[in-house]
């Protein structure tokens, strides 16, 4: 089948991006309308437009199968569009279109993974058949209910009044955008779009489909289309105007044989036989929702969630390769490091530098702004991921036969792009778990517990003090601690006597690899591979996940992820000759201690009583095996740190100062050693060029 030529890869990238965005947009519309159980005419137009764009761009890239598939889907919606009264019971349409959209996604993924290779559409024929049947069924209904002469959808669209029966012909010269490549195929595509509408159609060069050489001709002289003037000219011109990559077109009148008796439309010039009369620029505003933008812009519009507005306003969005943003981010990180190297340079110590300090302050302000801007560039809303979850719930609701409502909150919350990407899998697993394990199989189990028959799965996101908190919750059966404990016992994953486990600890056992209490493996879950994927993915972005469940009342998974991965405010503390950085957000207070405040438990562990609360003390030099002269608690300093409602005091030699640091991961070579498990999350380069280790308060306490 289609071979992907070299040099097309940039276009291919754009095609993937565009098509994926359109499919997401499609899913969103479908989910929304399905919930409302009604197609808005705007929605139908939108779906139509999406299918049309996909059809066009797929054909252009040579993916004939995909193009045909989109064409069939388009056909079906054509019927719906022309006969909006049909959409009383169209649930099968939803299923079908979802299948089409899934098939596309799978296909695009396959192509992406195998660029340049062959591709096959697995259930292609089946889908085509289904679409055809659906179309026939719909048009059958249409004919039955509305006994209009509209036998076929194409015919029904031809409502334009035919003018004179003369052999008036209208010629249009079409120019494509500069450098859009493969002009001949684009021209062929254009011909295909308008062919149905034309009773007479000629075009030059005539062999555009087979002869790539014609591209040159088209670039130089434009593509000449001649059609009979009695056809629906408005429609055809509109088609030409809105076709992909068309830069401009001009309407030429070429009737030397017959005078233009009835100039059908304003576009037709009064003086015949003259070329270039009216030039319609592409950017000319058109009534919404006619797609005047290029497909790429449309795709971007979809990304920005301004889809439904459609229309003529100019997009101020560009798409940027993520690698470039990463590079920018790295550079900003280094600028900040270098800045503090300059400003707190040891050479400057003890000097009175009024003007320098002022300039340094200004610089600091600017780099701060630079950093914020770069961060904000990388921020994208979670709504895309949330929509995908909506889709999963929809599919599972049907398959499992559970009546479940899906609630989303805070989908506008913005997080770093890399976080969004790594959140998708974990959220998918969690939502599946909620649907499969959480919500009760039997509705009676719910009503007996005084819960509404309809289950709820809720996905929320919110920003809170430098963290984004995402929760996935259901009001289902909850986690039975007994079951989990029994299972843990069987699997031998318990590390301490059973009686010492708190309910919360037991619940969090389900996050261990290979742990699943579901007795039966279902299509969606039960193999016990999901939860540890969730955990490791969340941990990859320095996040944490906890389970909170009440038997009979439901389960909530709480994911906390730092908003910005790269730069944190840290407090530098020294222990021996090593400098550690403690994230300031976790420090409650730091203080000197008097010996009489120290308590010891029976094992000799040191504790301290502060305002009636007892905190354990962790000596950093002991924990990390560092030689230091400061071993007496009253000579050093204690920091009270707190995360996740757990707190402790860490003992260090002294505080050095506060600094904004760029978090760098430990080198790849060290990945095999469990440094992170020991309470260090990464390292950072300090102003003087030396390296400081960043404390992960959470694992240090845990």
């Amino acid at each position: 089948m289609a071979k992907i030529e070299p040099g097309m890869e940039a276009m291919l990238d754009m095609y993937f991006f565009e098509t994926n965005s359109l499919l997401e947009q499609l899913d969103e519309i479908l989910l929304r309308t399905e919930q409302a159980n009604a197609f808005d005419s705007e929605d139908i137009k939108e779906i139509f437009r999406i299918m049309h764009t996909i059809k066009g761009s797929s054909a252009m890239m040579g993916f004939d199968n995909l193009s045909v598939l989109a064409h069939k889907a388009e056909d079906m919606f054509f019927v719906i569009r022309e006969n909006p009264e049909l959409i009383t019971d169209v649930s099968f349409v939803y299923d079908l279109v979802f299948q089409v959209s899934d098939s596309y996604k799978a296909q695009i993924e396959a192509i992406q993974n195998n660029v340049g290779g062959e591709y096959e559409l697995s259930n292609f024929d089946e889908l085509i058949e289904k679409l055809k049947n659906a179309k026939e069924k719909l048009s059958g209904e249409a004919n039955g209910e509305a006994p209009a002469p509209a036998a076929t959808p194409a015919a029904s669209a031809e409502s334009a009044p035919s003018g004179n029966k003369g052999n008036n012909k209208t010629s249009v010269r079409v120019f494509f955008e500069d450098g859009c490549q493969m002009e001949n195929l684009r021209a062929f595509l254009l011909i295909n779009t308008i062919r149905e509408e034309c009773s007479f159609l000629e075009f030059y060069p005539a062999d555009v489909e087979t002869n790539p050489e014609t591209s040159k001709e088209i670039i130089e002289h434009g593509f000449l289309i001649t059609f009979s003037a009695e056809d629906n000219q408005d429609y055809i011109l509109k088609q030409i105007e809105t076709a992909l990559n068309v830069q401009s077109y001009e309407v030429l009148a070429a009737p030397s044989e017959a005078p233009v008796a009835e100039a059908p439309k304003a576009e037709i010039p009064p003086e015949p036989a003259k070329e270039a009369v009216e030039k319609v620029e592409e950017k000319q505003p058109a009534p919404a929702p006619a797609p005047t933008e290029s497909a790429v812009e449309k795709a971007q519009a979809a990304v920005a969630n301004v889809a439904a507005q459609g229309g003529s306003q100019k997009q101020s969005l560009i798409s940027v390769n993520l690698a470039k943003l990463d590079a920018l981010n790295d550079i900003v990180g280094e600028i900040i490091t270098t800045e503090s190297m300059v400003i707190s340079n040891p050479d400057l110590e003890g000097l009175e530098l009024e003007s320098f300090s002022k300039a340094a302050r200004d610089l600091k302000k600017l780099t701060g702004e630079l950093q914020d801007t770069v961060m904000s560039i990388r921020m994208v809303p979670l709504s895309g991921v949330f929509q995908k979850m909506n889709r999963i719930v929809r599919d599972m609701r049907k398959k499992l036969g559970k009546d479940v409502e899906f609630v989303m909150e805070g989908e506008d919350t913005e997080v770093d792009k890399s976080i969004v990407d790594s959140l998708q899998d974990p959220l998918m697993h969690l939502v599946r778990n909620c649907m499969d394990h959480g919500i009760e199989e039997n509705v009676n189990d719910r009503t007996a517990n005084g819960k509404p028959a309809k289950g709820t799965v809720k996905l929320t996101a919110q920003n809170s003090s430098g963290e984004v908190i995402i929760t996935v919750s259901d009001d289902g059966a909850g986690i039975d601690p007994e079951k989990v404990l029994a299972k843990a016992r069987r699997q031998g994953v318990l590390t301490k006597p059973e009686s010492e486990y708190t309910v919360k600890e037991i619940q969090n056992l389900i996050l261990l690899p290979g742990f699943s209490t579901n007795e039966q493996v279902t299509e969606f879950s039960g193999r016990g591979v999901g939860m540890d994927v969730v955990k490791s993915n969340v941990e990859k972005c320095n996040g944490t996940i906890v389970v909170d469940s009440k038997k009979g009342a439901g389960t909530t998974f709480i994911i906390k992820i730092p908003l910005t991965l790269a730069i944190i405010d840290g407090m530098e503390i020294s222990v021996g000759d090593i400098v550690f950085t403690v994230p300031i957000s976790t420090i409650r207070e730091s203080f000197k201690v008097e010996p009489e405040q120290i308590l010891r438990d029976t094992d000799g562990n040191e504790m301290i009583m502060l305002r009636g609360i007892c905190y354990p003390i962790l000596r950093m030099h002991e924990k990390f095996g560092i030689e230091t002269e400061v071993t007496d608690l009253k000579e050093g300093i204690l920091l009270l740190v707190e995360t996740d409602n757990k707190s402790m005091c860490i003992f260090a030699d002294k505080l050095i100062g506060e600094q904004q640091v760029v978090v760098k991961p430990f080198p790849k070579y060290l990945a095999r050693y469990d440094i992170k498990g020991e309470g260090l999350s990464g390292c950072t380069i300090m102003g003087d060029g030396s390296i400081s280790l960043i404390i992960d308060t959470n694992t240090l306490i845990g």
Binding site: K668, C683, S690, I691
Partner: protein, 170 residues
């Protein structure tokens, strides 16, 4: 590329194919350095740079031979002490002590050596496979040897960077 040629040469040498010895072509370059009395070498394509000894930040819970991490122009690079790795006693840092940073498969590490000696050509006639001796542990990191004809020069042991960097917990 170079390493393939060399591997071939080593294999030929092992199989007793003497044809290659005759033409004595240059197969690549090695950087040589000393650890104690022994001369070691590393094929030049793995070497990123040589830097002087600098302050190394210790990292807890890693094996002894990983001395810690250093900052090489805003990149954090782990440092291995070759001496400790080969089970030799540590010696105090001298003015000759260097860190050679190596890169292999996007993994970067620095190795501490007593001093850097030279960069020289690898002649195909000088290549010699390591003796098959399962009892000698350090041979695990030696890819091949370069013989020397003159008595003044030692045989050089060429390190297998892939093994040195990629080895799993032994």
């Amino acid at each position: 590329m170079t390493s393939d040629v060399i591997k071939e040469a080593v294999a030929k040498q092992q199989s007793g194919d003497r044809k290659l010895v005759a033409d004595n072509s240059v197969l690549g370059k090695v950087m040589t350095f000393n650890i104690g009395e022994q001369v070691y070498g590393i094929e030049i394509q793995y070497v990123v740079e040589i830097i002087g000894m600098q302050r190394i930040t210790k990292v807890p819970h890693v094996p002894d031979y990983i001395k810690g991490i250093i900052n090489v122009r805003s990149k954090v690079v782990p440092v291995i002490d070759i001496r400790t790795r080969f089970g030799k006693p540590e010696i105090p840092v001298t003015s000759h002590t260097c860190i050679i940073t190596l890169s292999f498969n996007e993994t970067s590490v620095g190795i501490i050596v007593d001093n850097v000696a030279n960069v020289e050509d690898i002649h195909s006639s000088d290549i010699s496979a390591t003796p098959e001796n399962k009892n000698v542990n350090t041979n695990a990191f030696i890819q091949y040897m370069i013989r020397s004809d003159s008595n003044s020069e030692q045989t050089k042991l060429i390190l297998d960077v892939a093994k040195l960097l990629d080895e799993q917990e032994a």
